[in-house]
């Protein structure tokens, strides 16, 4: 069982990720904005972090930057949730240092595949 932190300001989005991840036997923790995401990440030291790019207070890029400064997250995969309508988001996410991205609307098979790859 691995620990996953999911940060998204939209509750249904968090719930979808929770449902898929819990089915695979992982423990899921939620954050509903960027500040909460940073705080929970430091407290939980999760095995994987999933960040929505567009969140209030601090967006996904901001959270990533904050966490990448912290040695404890050097090896932690951090995944971006990108809206597929925003073509530029994916490239920006990868060049900013996200390990991978998942496009919304979420394809379950793509999500399961990525999680399997990143969590082993």
């Amino acid at each position: 069982m691995k620990t996953v932190l999911v940060a998204d300001d939209k509750a249904p989005g968090r719930e979808l990720l929770r449902a898929v991840l819990e089915q695979s036997g992982h423990a899921v923790y939620e954050a509903s904005d960027g500040i909460e995401a940073v705080r929970s990440a430091r407290e939980l030291l999760p095995d994987l972090i999933i960040l929505d790019l567009h969140m209030p207070m601090l967006d996904g890029f901001g959270v990533l930057q904050e966490l990448r400064l912290d040695q404890r997250f050097a090896g932690t995969p951090i995944v971006a949730l990108t809206a597929s309508a925003m073509q530029g988001d994916r490239e920006r996410a990868l060049s900013a240092g996200f390990t991978a991205y998942i496009a919304k609307p979420i394809s379950l098979s793509a999500l399961r595949g990525e999680m399997q790859r990143l969590l082993g």
């Binding site: 069982m1 719930e15 979420i106």
Partner: protein
């Protein structure tokens, strides 16, 4: 793989738009895959019941029965089916519902046939792999089963090997092991592999016999031997003639009877109580005990000569805690048995439940595990047994502090033991520091400070 197995994979398309059905069945057709189609949900469900396709693609919005309901009914019939929902009205809420109900995917219309075709190709491969895996699992199960005893650990292989070696030759033998380790199964295996396998297998539990009746029970009596002996009666030894007599809990046998048992073993003849002549018997004796008979000998509760006679060949049944690698195998075995017994579709244990079981110390050994799985299989609502289905004493980590302390090797410094214990609790709380602090009974800040002092980092978890 034979072509017969290949052709056994099929896919069902359910959509009320004939155009879509055609598009999908043409676009997805590939070698080794049979495609079934239905333009009405009820028709689709009937087809599913009769043909049991491994993959189903269904539209979400259909007249009379929605795709969500189709999903529900299919999962109810066979939870291993891959069900893919498609809709022109994607919403995250209905995607969540689909996942929770067991959908394997949720697709947005219009469907791009190329990627879906690839995905179906992968699913077909997966189904084939699953079919092979379940074949392998069956084989594994037969290979890790020895005369009804389950195990693959080195301790069990060693025991199987000893049983196989001694079964053809022994006359008397002692099986030791804690309660619940399956000593009776060992005795039965010895009988079945012995040259007298076709003879009788007779069991006497020595702790269940009234002391005054012991000898008559074992050796029989003649009419008038004592009050109530109205006719001649053969004992269990004569009854087991040409077979095996299993004496369970031999440590509870009265000393006087022990002496007579020894004589029977030495001379291969019994004398009924009150009889003048002895009768020849040919009986193999397996005795079992969960007590330490050497202690009983030292305390003069067990005859030394009988002990040596029996323990010339000794087979030890290991504790479950010594062979925890056999847990998954045993779980599968018991789940399958109880699922059949209760007529449920229980398939296995969730990862969490397996972890919980592996943390338990199993003082009651395999019998305790059997009871736990039996309880859980009865309680389980879904097809997977989860933590809440286990008996309540297993809900929390069940180790007592004494057991925990005992599992750390003696001789470590206090700091070493502290460090190891903190790491262990952190692992059990998935690295959640506040939860670990609560379990350790210290404030979070204290735990943080201790982790720094003891140089515990994420790497250690």
């Amino acid at each position: 793989m034979s072509s017969a197995v290949k052709s056994a994979i099929s896919l069902l398309v359910i959509d009320d738009s004939p155009g879509n059905v055609e598009l999908l069945s043409n676009g997805l057709s590939q070698p080794g895959l049979e495609i079934l189609t239905a333009s009405h949900p009820e028709e689709g469900l009937n087809l599913f019941r009769n043909r049991r396709p491994q993959i189903v693609i269904t539209d979400l919005m259909m007249p009379d029965v929605s795709g969500m309901e189709v999903l529900e009914r299919i999962v109810e019939i066979d939870p291993a089916t891959d069900v893919i929902l498609m809709t022109a009205h994607y919403s995250t809420e209905s995607a969540v519902e689909a996942v929770k109900k067991g959908a394997s995917d949720y697709l947005n219309k219009p469907i791009s046939i190329g990627p879906l075709r690839e995905r179906i190709g992968r699913l077909v491969k997966e189904v084939r792999k699953r079919q092979r895996a379940s074949q392998l699992e069956d084989e594994l199960r037969t290979n890790s089963e020895f005369e009804g005893i389950i195990g693959r650990s080195p301790q069990m292989w060693e025991m199987f090997w000893r049983i196989r070696r001694v079964a053809p030759h022994y006359r008397a033998l002692l099986v030791t092991g804690e309660t619940g380790t399956g000593k009776d199964l060992v005795a039965r295996a010895l009988h079945r592999l012995s040259p007298v396998a076709s003879g009788r297998y007779v069991v006497l539990n020595c702790s269940a016999v009234v002391e005054t009746l012991f000898e008559s029970e074992l050796f029989g009596h003649v009419k008038g031997a004592f009050t109530g002996a109205t006719h001649d009666k053969p004992g269990l030894f004569e009854h087991a003639h040409g077979g095996t007599l299993f004496l369970d809990e031999i440590g509870d046998m009265p000393l006087a009877t022990q002496a007579k048992l020894l004589r029977v073993l030495q001379n291969q003849e019994v004398q009924r109580v009150g009889a003048l002549n002895a009768r020849k018997v040919d009986v193999r004796v397996v005795a079992a005990t969960n007590h330490d008979l050497r202690t009983a000998v030292a305390e003069k509760r067990f005859r030394e000569d009988l002990y040596y006679r029996l323990s010339m060949v000794e087979i030890h049944a290991p504790r479950l805690a010594e062979r925890k690698e056999d847990l998954p195998l045993l779980q599968r075995h018991f789940v399958a048995r109880f699922a059949a017994q209760y007529g449920k579709e229980t398939r296995g244990l969730t990862h969490r439940a397996q972890i919980r079981l592996s943390q338990h110390s199993w003082p009651g050994n395999v019998r305790e595990l059997e009871n736990v799985i039996g309880h859980a299989a009865m309680m389980a609502i879904s097809d997977m047994v989860d933590v809440q289905d286990l008996p309540t004493y297993l809900h929390a980590s069940s180790e007592t502090p004494e057991q925990t302390a005992a599992s750390f090797s003696a001789g470590g410094t206090l700091a070493e033991v502290e460090r190891a214990y903190i790491i262990r609790v952190l692992r059990e709380t998935s690295g959640v520091i506040s939860a670990a602090a609560t379990r350790l009974g210290v404030p979070r800040t204290t735990l943080n400070a201790m982790m720094t002092k003891l140089e515990i980092s994420r790497k250690d978890l």
